[in-house]
Symmetry: C2
Subunit: 382 residues, 2 copies
């Protein structure tokens, strides 16, 4: 298949581009380095330096003879997208091209507006690039489990049938996200659903939980192919952050009472899920929504697991609850359905001690690059 | 009270500004003439020429000695909004500053993007102007009944309690709008709800049905104070369009089978509703949602009523169903609750034959200005 990866330089975009190329697909990757730029601006560069996207693709091609076509450009620019879609004539487009940091989106007016504009307009342009250049293209959009928030009822996979005063209707599952970043993904879903209803686009919206991990079969070919591994408070996801804290000897920073429960998944499972979504598309003109995670944990669970893995390799890993910089429920009901991807064939890589130990050992090789100043939260919700 | 009207040059904005000034409030009106510009671009100028906002405010002041402060500027420009809010120190802001045409939003990429960007960023800047300059200011936002679409269950006032698998939660009522314009208002509500939850803004989101009418106590002072009365397919609301068609001797253009049901209200009731919302704000930190209409009609009902009023003054008014340019259900369940504004004190002006006859007679004075070319639909949904 011919596949475009929007945001192909990202933590998930780059491993996805390689993974799809390794499976024999023809892959185009586009990125405007927005995340790298914001990381620079906020002193949040990743733990491990990574070559730029053009160079990474060249290294990957040298090692595998598989070509990833690279465009450096902005998905909010219609001309860039038109040229890319006309050239690629894609069967599927994987849309990761969003400002991905919740804390960044809460830093103030400029950061919030940049997040809102980039994310909405990248989605809008993806929709229109399909309408104008590839109407049968399957859009695989990365949403987030954070769109749902933490309601007091079971979270279904995107849709819910409501019975009210003796009548029934099926609706998008109501959403109430906890940051502006997560809210832009709610708006994305609204926008996609509108264009699906009116113009018959074919969309899979993957409601993904926080991802952890840094090794995939493709990144293992060469250290220069590793994804951007962030451990800072802006771009680092919680498990990755805890692993670096464990190596650095910094107490694990549990926000608040630590009862916040979320669904997590291994980076390799993100690749599997995206691949499965592409291989088994929904019916034409359908908006399919899948909840993409494999296990739920509280923040306290995660801290205990990382501490346990640390002890297994001789690290002393204290845990230290700190004031929660976010506005969120710290104790809450959380029962999200996530059977759709399993039914499509997902075989989960669970968070075993072995997996965590392997990550700790890899992080340890870069221990001297850890900057402790970027571990504690620098952004408060209000 | 000190009140800002965003979009103060509009069909509703201008009568609202005068109405609030007449009630003794100190009023600031801002507009960037986006609607006038789009009307020019699409050959959709209003039936009755209107002076610009600065001149209208001067005419109104000459007649009443009441001053309306005018800013010509763009609500998506942070600097403009900061200056306005710093000067006005508003107790309330009425937000009409949106591209208001559903057909325009469906004309293609450029029109859609302009609608999305203008509407979202005007709302975003209103939120931030309040956060930064007037945190206690009550935002009165004009939403639309179109946000809900036409679900198969009763439409509540903004919120619904869902019981699911033995547990309960209260959510925003799920929305599925029928045009990109209406969808931008869904996104507005999502955005407002996010900032209410996190930052404690105080918001009333008025889900308004189509408005008809052109006379209010203030516009009756002088013809130059009339609102922009559109009868074209782009900006004209259905009742106003039918009235002009009746005067012009053009058969009333019912879209499709005409069973589409909506909630309607008189322009004077919009003024009452906005005034009541301001006078009786919700609790601080609350998002109050009210369904703003007084009566529901099918399109066929409206055509019959206009035809009947026409006959009463000697006009022959044929009705001619045409192919529906929109993608919408033409026969559907429609039972929206609308008791909130009545409880606040709304006294409806219903759509009597007398009201329609008075409008027909006023339109008749401008009969020679009617351009039949702009009556039939020029935009199809797909």
């Amino acid at each position: 298949m011919r596949i475009i990866v929007l945001g192909g330089d990202g933590y998930l975009g780059w491993p996805t581009a390689m993974h799809l190329a390794a499976r024999g697909h023809e892959v185009w990757a586009i990125d405007n380095y927005l995340r790298r730029q914001i990381a620079l601006e906020t002193c949040s560069e990743p733990l491990i330096p990574t070559p730029n996207l053009t160079d990474r693709a060249a290294i990957y091609q040298t090692l595998t003879d598989q070509r990833i076509h690279v465009t450096i450009g902005d998905c909010t620019d219609r001309t860039v997208m038109a040229q890319l879609f006309a050239e690629a004539r894609p069967d599927a487009v994987v849309h990761y091209a969003e400002q991905p940091s919740a804390p960044f989106s809460m830093m103030g007016y400029d950061a919030a507006r940049r997040t809102l504009r980039n994310n909405l307009e990248a989605t809008f342009n993806t929709i229109w690039a399909c309408l104008e250049h590839a109407p049968d293209c399957h859009i695989v959009k990365l949403g987030t489990m954070g769109e749902y928030g933490t309601p007091n009822i079971d979270i279904e996979e995107g849709w819910i049938e409501i019975e009210h005063k003796g009548r029934k209707e099926k609706f998008l599952f109501p959403r109430a996200a906890g940051s502006l970043y997560h809210t832009t993904k709610v708006l994305d879903t609204d926008l996609l659903w509108f264009y699906v209803r009116i113009h018959g686009l074919t969309v899979t919206d993957l409601m993904q939980g926080p991802v952890y991990g840094l090794a995939t079969p493709e990144t293992d070919l060469d250290e220069r192919l590793l994804p951007n591994f962030h451990y800072d408070d802006i771009f680092g996801t919680v498990v990755n952050r805890f692993l670096v804290q464990a190596v650095a000897g910094v107490p694990l920073t549990v926000y608040g009472s630590g009862g916040q429960t979320r669904g997590y998944l291994n980076l390799n499972d993100t690749l599997q899920c995206v691949e499965l979504a592409i291989a088994r598309p929904p019916a034409a003109g359908e908006l399919r929504i899948l909840n993409q995670f494999t296990e739920t944990f509280t923040v306290n669970d995660l801290a205990e697991r990382v501490a346990g893995a640390g002890r297994a390799i001789g690290l002393d890993v204290p845990i230290k609850p700190i004031a929660n910089p976010r506005k969120e429920r710290e104790q809450h009901y959380y029962q999200p359905v996530h059977s759709g991807l399993i039914e499509l064939g997902l075989e989960p890589h669970l968070m075993s001690e072995e997996v965590l130990v392997a990550m700790l050992e890899r992080v340890r090789r870069y221990a001297d690059r850890i900057d402790r100043a970027r571990i504690l939260p620098r952004v408060r919700w209000n």
